[in-house]
Symmetry: D2
Subunit: 287 residues, 4 copies
């Protein structure tokens, strides 16, 4: 994964894309064959080839040989269960401040889509610990992450998080569960002060229920937002948005655990962070 060699190598995860956008995702293994609906390709013919090159089946059908993107990989995982969308994942990674080398905790694992994105972003020197209470999902995620070559930077735990997280002092923690309000004490214990908490919730009722619990557990800088992604038809002389779009995946909520207020009882932790739209009144003296 994250290959940067100019040509493909045995063991690489590659993507074959036809001009009509038929996509195959596979890991190159000497001696194996890929059977497409437009003919057969030998893996050996796909090894040592420049990324982006054209390759042809035994019937002469064209495919582009491409490095698969994180998006491509997530789309495929998507086939198994409802997963987070790229539009949301990109903003979550930013908002949780994920960087190479960090330690991040997540629950539930689900099919491992966000786990994959987190593993991608923390890189080989980082670590993702992902909890899941349902054994079939836990096993599915393990299979998905193994195939992507990410198991070294991911620890999958089969555990109900009401029992708490093993970790403390983690940089960021994301809950993709329907009832995050039941786990905020656990989340707070796992996170370092000033760390980053995030979750995604599909309904307004869930958001309303979470907000006071964040407050109770001294999470501040609370933000609730939603990302909309509008695609355009890429036609230069008839430029226009697509006819339809995804209207809703979920509300994203972010917050940071802070030390309990001792002296400033009047402050309102739940709304610290103030108006997200406005420009914060930033001052930097020297630095």
């Amino acid at each position: 994964m994250n290959e940067t060699s100019p040509t493909t190598q045995a063991g690489d995860l590659v993507q074959l894309v036809s001009p009509s956008n038929k996509v195959y995702l596979l890991r190159l293994k000497p001696g194996e064959k890929l059977e497409t609906h437009r003919g057969v390709l030998a893996h050996d013919d796909l090894i040592g080839v420049p990324w982006g090159a054209q390759v042809f089946t035994h019937k002469g059908s064209l495919y582009f040989l491409l490095q698969p993107t994180l998006n491509d990989i997530l789309r495929e995982i998507k086939r198994n269960t409802q997963i987070m969308y790229p539009k949301d994942i990109g903003f979550v990674l930013m908002s949780l401040n994920i960087a190479p080398g960090q330690v991040v905790v997540e629950a539930g694992t689900g099919s491992g889509a966000l786990t994959t994105a987190l593993a991608w972003a923390v890189g080989p020197t980082g670590q993702v610990i992902s909890y899941e209470a349902r054994e079939p999902m836990h096993n599915l995620a393990r299979k998905n992450l193994e195939r992507l070559g990410f198991l070294e930077r991911v620890t999958l735990k089969l555990r109900d998080i009401s029992l708490g997280f093993d970790e403390t002092g983690v940089d960021a923690l994301f809950l993709d569960v329907p009832n995050p309000y039941d786990y905020m004490a656990q989340a707070r214990r796992a996170l370092k002060l000033g760390g980053f908490f995030g979750c995604i919730l599909p309904t307004t009722n869930q958001v309303e229920r979470l907000l006071p619990v964040l407050h109770q557990h001294y999470f501040a800088f609370v933000e609730v937002c939603e990302i909309l992604l509008l695609y355009y038809k890429p036609v230069y002389d008839r430029l226009r948005p697509t006819d339809r779009m995804v209207a809703h995946t979920g509300y994203l909520i972010f917050a940071r655990p802070v030390a309990p207020h001792e002296r400033s009882a009047q402050a309102e932790p739940a709304t610290l962070g103030g108006e997200p739209e406005g420009e914060p009144d930033v001052d930097d003296s020297e630095a």
Copy 2:
């Protein structure tokens, strides 16, 4: 940067946030002092403190001592020039498939905001090369990146990109210039086949002008999109979106250089990638 220690250390970049959301960004240096409008803080009192802790000025005013986020840093850089918004940057990082360890080229540097985000995402093992033709901007970006401690993973070049890029085989290239259509030959030479090209353009006219040029230079999998970020007021019993929002920053365009079509003249590179909204018909045999 990217500090993961539980307590602050000399040299750390930290953020002080008041309950009313007044923000200070500073690098901790023994012996120095920060003068806020609500009293003075000695850096020495801020070193060795747990992240997220409360600290107090000599007048007793409360601040939270926090690890600054990439967002915080970008917001501050923003004061200097028009820069890309976090909503766009998160999606750009995803769409350019940026991962730790990669080599990424960018132009123009501007004040270094996207440079910072790219440097953040490629991590200490990656490399960002950023071109800028205007010397004052080049110098400003250098100052910003130096202060953030990112100069080791960033190379700033003072150069007009019409002269071409020095690099070849790069993983990703982003153009934040008003006329990307003038540099697509140069961009193609710098990128490896199957690499990732992106740019941001504020007007529809620019998008219309770019699309055929992408086509001419065999960029395929073209996507044109826009990200909208809607914030909610985080009040549990009066949940509602904010009154106003950012309606437009720019159109994001992504594409990938592919090998010229030799045999399938009928294929349309510019629209390869097809309907972005639909689910690609993904097939994986083994993998």
Copy 3:
């Protein structure tokens, strides 16, 4: 109002607009004068003039003499209180199926903005009955409607609607009050079966509270929606959306009272109307 004569007449409501978009709204009265910040205009010089003509102050400053639009009028009323936006009003008129000649009930009157729009749409042969419990607002609305010449088609009632509406069999009823869930029995008694109910609510909490009450009172075909209006800068060679936009005014809720289900206990009145996004499976035999 609704003047269709090609030239202005005494008594007409007119709008003067400067090239820099300074707007004056006034009713033409022989002998009167308008003092603008760029000079004086005699009403007599504005009577008998073609709509759309240029007129000039005694200092030679240009104004366009225009028929004021409903939007213009609503904008002005807006100065007094928070009122509904044109983006919402247009859709409300459509969704309540308002047509010339209808009888429509509204509460609360507020400053009379929606009252004005309803009076506009039902025309001189229709009737709007508007309830308001607060005497100052009631009086303000009367003044606004009198000035617009709409009092003949509007009946303003100073009354708390918890006491019920005097009317029955009305075509449409709109509640612009914070607690519509307290008045659904009253609303049902006023509306004819199959009539149209609508309201606007700023928070998700209010919408959640209203929905089951609609159900209890046999309102079906429930729709909850929100209108976003995105403006573009009208510059032909730099076309782009405006930088900022209104993100939220309120959620619009529509429903229709139907006869209580006697035989089909399994049906769910609250969701009758089904998927608003999909195309209804419409069949017409003959017609």
Copy 4:
């Protein structure tokens, strides 16, 4: 149409809706029968029935008998051709300032959807003149309007509008044609000064091409906008937007013909109207 009697009468246009949202639109005629896929209903059993009542087929299947809304009617017309959406029509009626009794011109007629909405809004005392160059569409629209009982307030003309409109001094004119920029001289001659022009265009290229032509023909107060309509699932304890939505139908452009500037050459008619988002600086002296 626009029936306000409490019970149905022979000749009324009615809608039958099943609990599963199967919809039939029909005009009641004594002696006729409606065959649904769940049984037969005699028109005679549907005449003299209260609006909103339950009716049953010979097999005992339930339908609600409802007054059809303008939306319902437009949806049905939609089956024939691409027509304007209710979200756009409501805003167009507002922006063109349509009121009972007005004279409005439209081209092209298409299947008569916007014609229907305009006829609805101008009422029996108004007049809609609609031009169409394609005879089959002209005939289809006539059939649709006849069935709705709207032919008395609509004049359908089979004519290429490049030849000009017969009318002058009209209140409002709407062009639903792909090339409105070719007809702005004709539109200007038909409209009274200060009247209302509108059109809908699907692509940015068309908008860019129209804007300078509006300028050339002294149309001012130009607005370009787009309406987004977001539906929520009306479920009180799981409130959330629908998964998908209509992302684009067309850009709406509005403008008003004004007298040519004689003395103020520096003014820019095309942008008169200024910032649509801001509040106009409205002043009213007396009025």
